[in-house]
C-alpha cells in the first residue's frame, strides 16, 4: 500500500499536471480523426496538450487505443512514445507495475498491450524474459511472435550445445504456437534437419487437393470479366468450350511447402489464358475464416458461389498471405473456386501462372478440411 501511494505521488509530482479529465477530453478529440484528414486541426492541438502528460498517465492514454480507429491509434501511439521517451530520459523510470498490469490484462486490445510491452521492456529489461513464456498463446499476435522467437532462439542455442532432444522440444512447442508463415516455415526446416518431419502445408492450412480446368481465353485480358462455365455452376462432370477446344475437370495437386498450384504444369504453358481450380472443403461447424491467397496473376475467389475477393493485377509481386479475405464456412461441404488469369506479358518472369491458398481462423491458425 505504501509503495503504491509512493508511486502515485512520484508520478503525480514528477512532471506535468494535466488533469485526467482534460486528458480524456484530448484523447476523445484525437479519436475523432478519420479519413481525408478529418479532425486534424483538433487532433493536432490535442496531441500537443497530451504530450505534456506525465508518466503516471501513460496507462490512461494506452487504454484509449482499445477503441481508436487505425488512424487515431497512430496519433495516440506517437504521443505515448513522446511522453514515455521524455520521462524515461528525464527520470530513468516508468510506472512499471501499471504497464505490466496492462500487458497482462487480456481484456485490453492487442495494440494497447503491445505498446505497453514496448515501453515496459525499455524501462525494465528483465520483463521480456519474465513475461514472454506466458505469451505463447497470446491473442496479441505481435507478443505471440516474440514468444515464439524466444523459443526458436533457445532451440538454436541447444542445437549448438549438442542437445538435440531438448532443441526439438523447444521447436515443437514454438511450432504449436506460431502463426506467421515465416516462423512456421523456419521451424519446419529446423525440425526437418533434426529428423522430425513437419507437414508444412497442413500446419499452415494450405489447400493441397484441387480439381482444375482450362485453358479458357484471356487474350487482351478480356477473360477476367467473362463468366465461363465453371463460374456458372459446380459440375465436375461438365465439359466446356475452352481456348483450344473442349475442356474437362481433372485432378491437380499443390506442391511444395506452400502447396503451389502451378497451372502451367497442370493445364498448359500458354499466355492469354484463364484457368479454374475447385476444392470441396468440409467443416464440422459453421465458422468464420480467412482465405489467404498468393499469386502473381489476376485472381478471383468464390466461397459457395459467392465472390469474396478479386485482384485484377498481373506480375506485380507475390508474397505469402498476399490477399486476405473473410468468409463463413457452412457446416458440411463447401466449395472454394479460384479463377486465375494469365496475361500476355512476354518477360521471362511473367511466365508464372500459379497460386497458393490457405484457410485460417481469425488468429491465423490453420483450418484444414475435415475430410
Amino acid at each position: 500500500m505504501i509503495v503504491a501511494w509512493t508511486s502515485i505521488c512520484f508520478w503525480a509530482l514528477s512532471a506535468g499536471s494535466l488533469p485526467d479529465e482534460e486528458l480524456r477530453t484530448h484523447l476523445a478529440a484525437i479519436c475523432q480523426v478519420d479519413q481525408q484528414g478529418k479532425g486534424h486541426a483538433q487532433a493536432a492541438e490535442a496531441w500537443s496538450q497530451l504530450a505534456q502528460a506525465n508518466a503516471g498517465q501513460l496507462n490512461l492514454m494506452l487504454g484509449a487505443l482499445d477503441t481508436a480507429n487505425p488512424l487515431a491509434a497512430n496519433w495516440i501511439r506517437t504521443v505515448v512514445d513522446a511522453v514515455a521517451e521524455r520521462e524515461l530520459a528525464r527520470t530513468g523510470r516508468l510506472p512499471l507495475a501499471d504497464l505490466e498490469g496492462l500487458v497482462l490484462d487480456r481484456s485490453h486490445g492487442p495494440k494497447t498491450r503491445e505498446l505497453a510491452f514496448v515501453w515496459l521492456v525499455q524501462a525494465d529489461h528483465a520483463a521480456r524474459e519474465r513475461l514472454l513464456p506466458g505469451m505463447l498463446n497470446d491473442p496479441c499476435l505481435t507478443l505471440r511472435r516474440m514468444a515464439v522467437e524466444r523459443l526458436m532462439n533457445q532451440g538454436r542455442d541447444l542445437v549448438e550445445q549438442g542437445d538435440k532432444p531438448q532443441a526439438v522440444k523447444r521447436y515443437e512447442q514454438a511450432l504449436a504456437a506460431a502463426r506467421d508463415v515465416d516462423q512456421v516455415r523456419a521451424l519446419g526446416e529446423r525440425l526437418n534437419k533434426l529428423g522430425v518431419e513437419v507437414d508444412l502445408p497442413r500446419k499452415l492450412g494450405y489447400v493441397v487437393g484441387w480439381q482444375v480446368i482450362g485453358p479458357f481465353d484471356n487474350v487482351g485480358d478480356k477473360g477476367y470479366e467473362v463468366a465461363y462455365g465453371p463460374e456458372k455452376e459446380v459440375n465436375q462432370q461438365a465439359e466446356y468450350p475452352g481456348k483450344q477446344g473442349p475442356v474437362r475437370w481433372k485432378p491437380g495437386e499443390g506442391t511444395g511447402p506452400f502447396a503451389t498450384v502451378d497451372l502451367n504444369k497442370l493445364l498448359v504453358m500458354e499466355k492469354g489464358v484463364v484457368g479454374y481450380a475447385l476444392n470441396e472443403f468440409h467443416s464440422s461447424r459453421e465458422q468464420e475464416v480467412e482465405f489467404r491467397v498468393s499469386s502473381a496473376n489476376a485472381v478471383k475467389l468464390w466461397l459457395n458461389g459467392r465472390l469474396i475477393d478479386e485482384h485484377h493485377v498481373y506480375h506485380s509481386g507475390v508474397q505469402p498471405d498476399q490477399y486476405v479475405s473473410r468468409g463463413t464456412l457452412q457446416a458440411g461441404r463447401n466449395t472454394i473456386l479460384v479463377k486465375l488469369c494469365q496475361n500476355e506479358q512476354t518477360q521471362d518472369w511473367a511466365k508464372v501462372w500459379q497460386f497458393q491458398l490457405r484457410v485460417c481462423d481469425l488468429q491465423g491458425a490453420a483450418v484444414n478440411s475435415e475430410r
Partner: protein, 407 residues
C-alpha cells in the same frame, strides 16, 4: 511543473528555429538532396570512407531502402520492423554524435506486402526545414516537426486499400512550396496527390496510369520558389504540374523508366527512357522541347546525376558513363562493381557510389573517371547517400554511417 516544461519547450523551439535559419545551406532535405540532383556543393568530403573517417555508426531498430536526410544538424531516417514489417518508425539522430534524439512508431494502416529484398520503409523522408514528412510502402504518410511532435497523419492506403504494389511502393514524397506531392502508381487505384504540408489536407488528387512505377516526383525549379513546378514520371508519360493545384501544364507521352527518376538542372530535364532524353522546359510557351535523345545512355536503377555540364548515368552492368549534358555524347566511362540501386552522389570532384553488396566506390571526376577508393559497408544497400556539412551519410539495413574528415 507543466509551465516549466512548456517554457522549456518554447526555448527549445527558439533554439531550433535559430539553428534552422542558420543551417539550411548544409541541409539535404529529400530524396537526392534538396534539389533532387544528387549533387552537393560541400567541399572537404573524405575520399576514403573507411575507419579513419568514420565519424559514427548508429544502429537502427528496423530495415529499409529509405535514404537519410539531414536537416538543421539532425539526421532523419525511416525504418520498418516486425514480422509483417508493419511497425513504421521515424528516427531523428544528432548529426554530430549519431545519438538518437527521438523515435516515433506507428502501425501500418495499408498493405505491407513487399518483396523480401526491400522493406516497408522504402521511401526517403522530405523536409522544408521545419517539418519532416515520411511515407512508407503502406502509403502511410506522417508529418512531424523537428522535435518529434506529430502534426498530422494520413493513411493513404487505409483510404484507398487497392493502392498497393506487392513488390513494394517506393516513390519518395517531395515538398514543393508548401505542398507534399506523393505519387502512388500501381495496378490498383493509381493516383498522385498534393497535400497541404501544414494541415495534411488534400489539395488535389489525380488519377494516374495503372501500372507499376517506383519513380519519385521531381522538382523543376523556377526563377523564384513560387514558380517551382513538379515533374511526375509514369511508365508512358512525363508530365509537368503546378504543385498547389496539381494542374497539368505540359506532358511528353513516351516510355519512361519506372525506377530511375528524371533529373533537372535549371530548365533542363534529363528523362530516363530506353536511354536518356534531354528536354528543355519552355515556361513561356509551356512546352517540353526535346534537345537530344541518346539510347547509349541506358540507365540502370539509379537516377542520372548532372553536374558541371556533364551527365553521369549508372548502367545496370555497373558502368558509370559520363556524357556531355549538351549533346549526350559519351566522354568516358568507368567500370565499377554493381549491381547498384542507390543513386550516386557528387560532391567536389568525386562521385560516391555504393552497390547492393555495400561496396562503396569513390570515383575522381575529370577528363576521365578514375576509381580512387573502395571499401565495405554492410550488404543489402538500396538507399541513396546524403551529403551535409562536409560529411557523407550512408544507410544500410542495420545502421546509419557518417563519414567525415577530422577537423
Amino acid at each position: 511543473m507543466a509551465v516549466t516544461m512548456h517554457q522549456a519547450g518554447i526555448c527549445r523551439g527558439i533554439l531550433l528555429a535559430l539553428i534552422v535559419l542558420g543551417a539550411t545551406g548544409a541541409d539535404w532535405r529529400q530524396f537526392r538532396g534538396t534539389d533532387n540532383r544528387s549533387v552537393s556543393d560541400d567541399k572537404g568530403l573524405p575520399t576514403a570512407c573507411g575507419p579513419e573517417t568514420l565519424a559514427w555508426k548508429a544502429p537502427l531498430p528496423g530495415r529499409g531502402p529509405a535514404g537519410p536526410i539531414v536537416v538543421a544538424g539532425r539526421v532523419f531516417v525511416a525504418a520498418s520492423s516486425g514480422g509483417g514489417q508493419d511497425c513504421l518508425r521515424l528516427l531523428c539522430l544528432d548529426a554530430q554524435s549519431g545519438k538518437q534524439l527521438w523515435q516515433r512508431q506507428m502501425w501500418a494502416t495499408g498493405s505491407t506486402v513487399h518483396n523480401s529484398f526491400g522493406a516497408v520503409a522504402d521511401c526517403t523522408p522530405a523536409s522544408d526545414g521545419r517539418l519532416v514528412v515520411a511515407l512508407w510502402s503502406s502509403n502511410d504518410l506522417a508529418c512531424f516537426d523537428l522535435e518529434g511532435n506529430l502534426k498530422w497523419f494520413r493513411g493513404l492506403g487505409y483510404e484507398s486499400p487497392t493502392t498497393r504494389n506487392d513488390v513494394g511502393m517506393a516513390s519518395s514524397p517531395l515538398i514543393v512550396q508548401d505542398t507534399v506531392v506523393v505519387q502512388l502508381e500501381n495496378y490498383g487505384a493509381s493516383f498522385a496527390t498534393g497535400i497541404d504540408l501544414q494541415t495534411g489536407q488534400t489539395r488535389w488528387r489525380q488519377a494516374r496510369e495503372q501500372a507499376s512505377n517506383w519513380t519519385s516526383p521531381t522538382v523543376l525549379r523556377g526563377p523564384t520558389p513560387a514558380e517551382d513546378l513538379v515533374l511526375l514520371q509514369s511508365r508512358s508519360r512525363l508530365s509537368v504540374h503546378d504543385p498547389r493545384s496539381g494542374r497539368e501544364l505540359a506532358a511528353r507521352d513516351h516510355f519512361c523508366h519506372t525506377i530511375a527518376s528524371s533529373t533537372t538542372v535549371g530548365d533542363r530535364i534529363y528523362r530516363p527512357n530506353d536511354g536518356i532524353e534531354a528536354l528543355r522546359w519552355d515556361a513561356a510557351t509551356r512546352q517540353l522541347v526535346t534537345l537530344w535523345d541518346e539510347s547509349r545512355l541506358k540507365s540502370g536503377n539509379p537516377c542520372p546525376v548532372v553536374h558541371n555540364g556533364r551527365i553521369y548515368v549508372t548502367k545496370s552492368a555497373g558502368i558509370v558513363v559520363c556524357a556531355s549534358a549538351e549533346d549526350g555524347n559519351t566522354l568516358w566511362q568507368v567500370r565499377l562493381k554493381g549491381p547498384f540501386w542507390a543513386t550516386p552522389v557528387i560532391a567536389g570532384a568525386h562521385l560516391y557510389a555504393v552497390n547492393h553488396a555495400g561496396l562503396m566506390q569513390v570515383v575522381q571526376l575529370g577528363e576521365e573517371g578514375k576509381l580512387v577508393w573502395s571499401g565495405e559497408l554492410e550488404p543489402g544497400v538500396l538507399a541513396s547517400p546524403a551529403v551535409s556539412d562536409g560529411a557523407i551519410y550512408f544507410r544500410t539495413d542495420g545502421h546509419v554511417w557518417k563519414f567525415a574528415n577530422k577537423r
